[in-house]
Each structure stands twice: as C-alpha cells, then as structure tokens.
C-alpha cells in the first residue's frame, strides 16, 4: 500500500508539471491525495467522499480509481490544448442509476457539431446545420432496434479530438472524429470544488464532464471496452443495415458513433472498425477511393510488406509452387504463365527447386502479366531482369516475357506465343487475381476460355476463402466484417513495425473497395472454394489434388511462423486452406483440364 502511494504521488507530481495551467488541476490533485490517504485506513470501507455522492466505491479499489482519474486528466489536458478548455473546468456528477434515462435523452437531442471544431477528416464533412432535425429522428426509433441502450453504470462517452492515439496506425486511421450531443439540462447537478473529480472507474462509478451552458456539447469517455466492443459491432451492423435500407441520414449518424466507439477499443478491433467506418463513410458520402490502376505501384509495395509480415502469401506461393513442381516432373521445357506477376516473389523458390531436381533443371520460361504502371515505366521488365539474374546464378536457362494488360480479360491465347505442347509444358498461376474479373460480365468466362486454349498441365489458383460477392450489401458487409476481423486478429501477434502498418493498409484498401464501391469499380469480389469449384467445373476443369508434399511445406512454414500458434492448415477436397484458428482464410487449389474438355 505504501509503495503504491509513493508511486502514485510521483506520477501526480510529474503530471502536474506536464499539464498546462488550469485551475482545476490543483484541487483535483488535492482531492486525489485525500482519497489516497483514506485508502490507507480501512481497506474495505466505502470511500467517504464518493459515498457522499451516492457511489459505493471500496477504498481498496481507490488505486485503480486514481489511475483512471489520471488517464482522464491526461485526456482532459489534450482537450485543453485544443482550445476547448471549458470542458475541463466544470465537472458534473451523475448518479449512475440515472444514466440510462440520461442517455436516452442524449440520443433524442443529438445536434450537429459546431462548424469550427470539426476534426480534420475530409471524409466526414460537417453536416449542414439543417440536418439537426433529421438526426433527431434517431430518438424516434426504439433503442433496442439499434442496440444503443446503455448498460447502466458502465458507459462513459468522451467527445474529443484525439491526436494520434496509436502511433503505429497508418495515416488512414488518424481520422479525428468528433461527436457532439446536447446536454439534457434536467440532468445537471451541482458542482463544488470538493467534488471536482473527473474520473472513470471500472464498473462501479461513472462521471461525465460537460459544459454548463452555451456550447451544448458533451464529452464522455468510453472505458468498459468489452461492452463497447459488442456495441461497436452492433453499430457497424446497424449502419450497414441503414445503408441497405437507403436510410442515409441514420447511417451517417451511426458512422460517427462508430468512430467514437472505435477509438475506445484497442488492437485489432479498433483497426478493423476504423477501416470499416471509413469505407461506410465513403459509401454514404459517395466519395469513391481512387482508381485501382493509379495505385498499382502502391499496391505492389503494400503487397510486398504483406508478404513479409504474415504467412498468407508465402503459403500461397509455396503450395502453388509445389503443385507446379510436381506437374512439371520429367518435362524438359517448362513455361509458367503468371496472372499475378507483381514483384515476382513466387518464382525464385520454384526456380531453385527446379534447379535442384533430379535430372537437372529444365528450360524455364516465364510469362508475367500485370497492369500498367502509373508512370509508364516497364516494371514488369525490371522484375524479369532480376529473375534472370537469379536464374543465371543458379544455372537455370531462363526466358522471360512481360505483358501489360488492364484486365486479364483483355488477353488472348495468341498473344502468349505458345509453343506446341509436346515440346513445352505450361502451367498457369493466379494468386488473388481471378476474383477481380467477376465484376465484368463475361470476364471470368473469357479468361477461363483462354486458359483452356493454353492447355496447361496445371492451373493453380489461390483465392480468399469468403463470400464477398453476394447480391445483398448487408450480407457482404457481415461476411467481410467477420473475415477481416479474423485476418486482423492474426496480425496482432506480429510486433509493430512499418511492415505491419503497411500490411494493414493493404487490407484496409480491400475493405474500402469491398464496402464503398459498386459495379465495375468493386473488384474485391471474393468467393469461396465451392463457388470457384462450380465455376471451374462447369468450364471444363477438374480438380487436381495438391498432395502431401504441399501440405508438409505448408505445415513447416506455419510452425516456423511464431511457433504456428493460431494458424491452421486444412486439406479440403484436395485443396489446402490456411486459416486462423477455426476460420479458413485463403485457399490454394489446383486444376487440370477435365477429360471431357480435351
């Protein structure tokens, strides 16, 4: 106990030096001292000071109380620097049992924020003042529909401009969200210096800070994160439902709430919620993200970072390579057509395996297909040069051709300079590319037709294992929320680094495209293995089993990654699925031309 007291006092004095001068800080610290002294008395007696206000806080819990107070003070200090000092000077107490009705009133009197105090987020322009009447329509909906019911005694909402909270977040995450609610005047209780305690305490005590008069803004702090996690998910679903029903005003208000709730979370949940909130906002305000092809060099870079941070792409490459290697057994000349060239990271491993196979390496020919680079640089050519360098080092005869195409559907088999199949065995490889064709009518059929014309010995496909291409927006939203939550969860184990941030941005772009875009712009149309299987089956392909070597490589890869905790490899009808705990996330499958198609 004594030691806690000293530490606490030390923190207090540091803190006092740090804050900008405020008349409220000294009395608060004195109060804290008083509270802490009481702590040294009976451990289990209710704290006298707070008991006056109707709170039942055990003295033994006061250390935690004090810690939370300190946190609140820091946040208030930030608020002060933003020029909203009046928020810090007056503190008000509410009896927790009255919080439910208070929140009800709050929701029914939501007002738009004052124009000047908005965050710097261009995605959420301040709504026009005339919207205040429409937003109040929320009060008309029963709280249970949107699950905005507060759990009495627990919730505290904080309206604040938080500067970068998570320093490892990408710039996309640093949206400053401001939510303002009016103060129901009926709830104001008296203030006094003795009770100037702003604090947030676990499940027993709740307080709020608010202005007395003119500004009609309220600040609240969300603390109990588990409850708010559930609330956050419900808010996200409610917002999607509102969009589905074309109720954009409700959706708009919900998006802002999501912003506040998301900030209270930590880790994966916060990042996922922030990305989804941004995407929802883009959808509501019809701000489409920039065109994919302009961003291609960026997306290449992001994919490279994603490759390094987590095993998904490595899994894809290693398993596809194993299938191709086995299909190329005994062939003297081989040709790989890669629909997903990017940086060519898949091919060094295959070339090395071919170089070391029994009987010596074959002649290896690679055709890489990719979208045009924004600055018209021949980036596919550069990749080819590097692969050629590697090939020379490991003594593999190498031939390379790069094709630039806006979409795979623009390809024709005649362009690919195929040689007769007796002399050359061909494999076609596609990693996360085929789903982009589903937005164009006839796209996938054309590409599958081209693949059949190529007559490959094997066609390896790696795709995300989730149905994000349903006709109903709400279903897509739900599926993708679960999918990306799992994906972000799996990233949580990775130590923070620039790579990790870029990986998250990479996934965030997919989320944005999935939620905010429609029609041909929406390229992230993921489908499940069974859906792809039906598609391939009806196009004349038969599944080719991946074999135990691929499984072994995948298992090895995962056991090396962070001791393989959490990741699971499953075999499903000859295809391999990599998942996080029980949820499969990506699938590698191999296909060959069915006998009927020959």
């Amino acid at each position: 106990m004594k030691r806690d007291l000293h530490q606490f006092q030390g923190r207090l004095s540091n803190h006092n030096h740090g804050t900008s001068s405020s008349s409220s800080s000294l009395p608060i610290s004195k109060d804290k001292m008083m509270m802490v002294k009481k702590e040294e008395d009976g451990g289990n007696m209710d704290d006298e000071l707070l008991a006056v206000l109707g709170y039942k806080v055990r003295s033994s819990e006061m250390a935690e109380v004090a810690l939370k107070l300190e946190q609140l003070e820091t946040m208030m200090g930030n608020v002060q620097e933003d020029g909203l000092s009046h928020l810090a000077t007056d503190t008000v107490h509410y009896n927790p049992s009255e919080l439910y009705s208070w929140l009800d009133n709050m929701l029914s009197e939501l007002n738009p924020p004052p124009p000047g105090s908005h965050g710097l987020d261009p995605i959420l322009p301040p709504p026009v003042a005339g919207d205040s009447s429409t937003i109040t329509s929320i009060g008309g909906f029963p709280a249970s529909d949107y699950d905005l019911k507060v759990i009495p005694g627990n919730a505290i909402y904080h309206q604040n401009q938080f500067p970068a909270i998570d320093s490892s977040s990408s710039s996309n995450n640093q949206n400053k969200r401001l939510k303002s609610c009016s103060s129901p005047d009926s709830m104001v209780t008296s203030t006094s210096t003795a009770t100037q305690i702003g604090g947030v305490i676990g499940t027993t005590v709740t307080t709020t800070t608010t202005t007395t008069a003119a500004e009609s803004t309220r600040s609240v702090i969300l603390v109990d994160s588990q409850e708010n996690g559930v609330r956050l998910v419900h808010a996200l679903m409610a917002c999607a439902e509102a969009i589905q029903q074309n109720n954009l005003t409700l959706a708009e208000a919900l998006v802002k709430q999501i912003g506040c709730l998301a900030v209270s979370q930590a880790g994966a949940m916060r990042k996922v919620a922030t990305y989804f909130a941004e995407a929802l906002a883009r959808r509501i305000y019809r701000l489409s993200p920039p065109q994919n092809q302009i961003d291609h060099s960026l997306s290449d870079t992001l994919q490279m970072h994603f490759y390094e941070t987590c095993p998904y792409l490595k899994f894809a490459h290693f398993t596809a390579n194993q299938a191709i290697l086995e299909a190329f057994e005994g062939k003297k000349r081989v040709h790989v057509i890669d629909f997903s060239m990017n940086q060519g990271l898949q091919w060094p491993a295959l070339m090395q395996a071919l170089a070391l196979r029994e009987g010596g390496p074959p002649t290896f020919r690679l055709t890489g297909i990719g979208p045009p680079a924004p600055d018209n640089s021949d980036h596919l050519h550069d990749v080819g040069c590097k692969l050629a360098q590697l090939a020379e080092v490991i003594h593999v005869e190498f031939e390379y051709r790069g094709f630039v195409a806006n979409s795979l559907a623009d390809l024709d088999a005649s362009m690919l300079e195929l040689r007769p199949s007796e002399t050359e065995a061909v494999a076609v490889n596609s990693v996360f590319e085929l789903h982009k064709l589903l937005g164009r009518p006839g796209g996938i059929e054309k590409v599958l037709g081209v693949v059949k014309q190529i007559k490959p010995v094997i066609f390896t496909v790696v795709e995300q294992e989730s149905n994000h291409n349903g006709p109903v927006f709400l279903d897509r939203f739900t599926e993708s929320l679960h999918y990306y939550s799992t994906l972000f969860d799996s990233l949580e184990g990775v130590p923070s680094s620039q790579d990790k941030v870029m990986s998250e941005v990479y996934l965030g772009k997919q989320i944005c495209n999935l939620v905010a875009c429609e029609g041909p712009d929406r390229v992230e149309r993921h489908e499940t293995l069974s859906q792809w299987g039906n598609r391939f089956g009806s196009s004349g392909f038969a599944p080719a089993n991946l074999g135990s070597n691929a499984f072994k490589q995948a298992s090895m890869l995962l056991s090396v990654y962070n001791s393989g905790q959490g990741y699971r490899v499953e075999e499903n009808n000859g295809c391999l699925m990599l998942g996080w705990h029980t949820r499969p996330l990506i699938t590698t499958s191999a296909w060959k031309l069915s006998a009927a198609a020959h």
């Binding site: 390094e308 290693f318 090395q352 070391l356 090895m556």
Partner: protein
C-alpha cells in the same frame, strides 16, 4: 622423444626466441586438420569455436564446414549441383545462420529431413532475390521476408 625433450630443455634454456624449432604440435599451424576437426562439430560448438580467436574465426568461414553441418543428418546426400547453387546464393554459412538454425529452433521435433532442407533453401532463395532489390526499394531498407525467422519465438 626423450632426445627431443633434452633438446627442448637445452634450447629453452639457451635461446628462447627459437621456439619454432621446438616440435610442439600447434593446431594453428595445420589449418586443414583444424577444418577436419571443426567439420565434426555441432552447431553451437562450431559457433563457439569460431569465437576463439581471429585465426579460428577465419578458418571457420570455410564453407565446407558449414556444408557438413547442414547435411549431416540428411541422407541420401544432396547432389553436387546443390553446392554450386548454394554458393552462388551466398554460401552454406549464411544459409545456416539465416534459415536452417532459426527453422530448426522452431520446429517442434528436431527432424532434419530433405523436406526441411528444401524449405530452408526456398526461403534462402527468396532472401537472395530480395537482396537484388537493394537500392531499388523505395529508399527504405531492403525487404526481408526472413525477418519472421529472426523474431524471438513465442514459446508459450
């Protein structure tokens, strides 16, 4: 031998600077013998040996020592073409430190079969390929897909 001992004593009594005529066997004079001995060591011992002195450190850079270490338990022995490939990619010593040792540390049982070897080689090859991007990689540090191997293992 006793004659030699007498001559040793004489010489040490008389001319101490002519130590090289004293027929003591110093391993440091016989690098090939040293290499043969080091080839038979296991990983940790070899690393310790490489820290003994500059000479031993230089001798320990002999790639054949590390080749022996990598392939000791693998049978049948990989072909000679492997040696040229691995040397071109950076040598067995780098292969051991970058890929094989971390992989071995993380695999639950210390089975060292061709599969693990093949896996390590794939990782090594990707690593080499990424080196080719040095300077062309957005000004940052070159990409390193083997970074996941260097991170501390969460053994729960």
């Amino acid at each position: 031998m006793s004659e030699k001992r007498i001559s040793m004593v004489e010489k040490s009594n008389n001319k101490r600077q002519r130590v090289n005529q004293v027929p003591k066997f110093s391993i440091n004079d016989h690098h090939d013998v040293l290499v043969e001995i080091l080839r038979r060591l296991d990983g940790p011992s070899l690393c310790s040996a490489a820290c003994v002195c500059r000479l031993w450190s230089a001798v320990a850079r002999n790639d054949s020592i590390w080749e022996e270490l990598c392939f000791r338990q693998v049978s049948p022995r990989p072909s000679l073409s492997l040696r040229s490939v691995v040397s071109a990619l950076g040598g067995y010593r780098c292969l051991y430190f970058l890929c094989i040792r971390p992989v071995l540390a993380r695999l639950p049982k210390l089975l060292w079969t061709r599969d693990q070897l093949q896996f390590s080689l794939s990782l090594y090859c990707v690593h080499y390929y990424e080196r080719l991007y040095v300077g062309a990689w957005l000004g940052d540090a070159p990409p390193s897909s083997l970074m996941f191997l260097r991170k501390p293992v969460n053994v729960v």
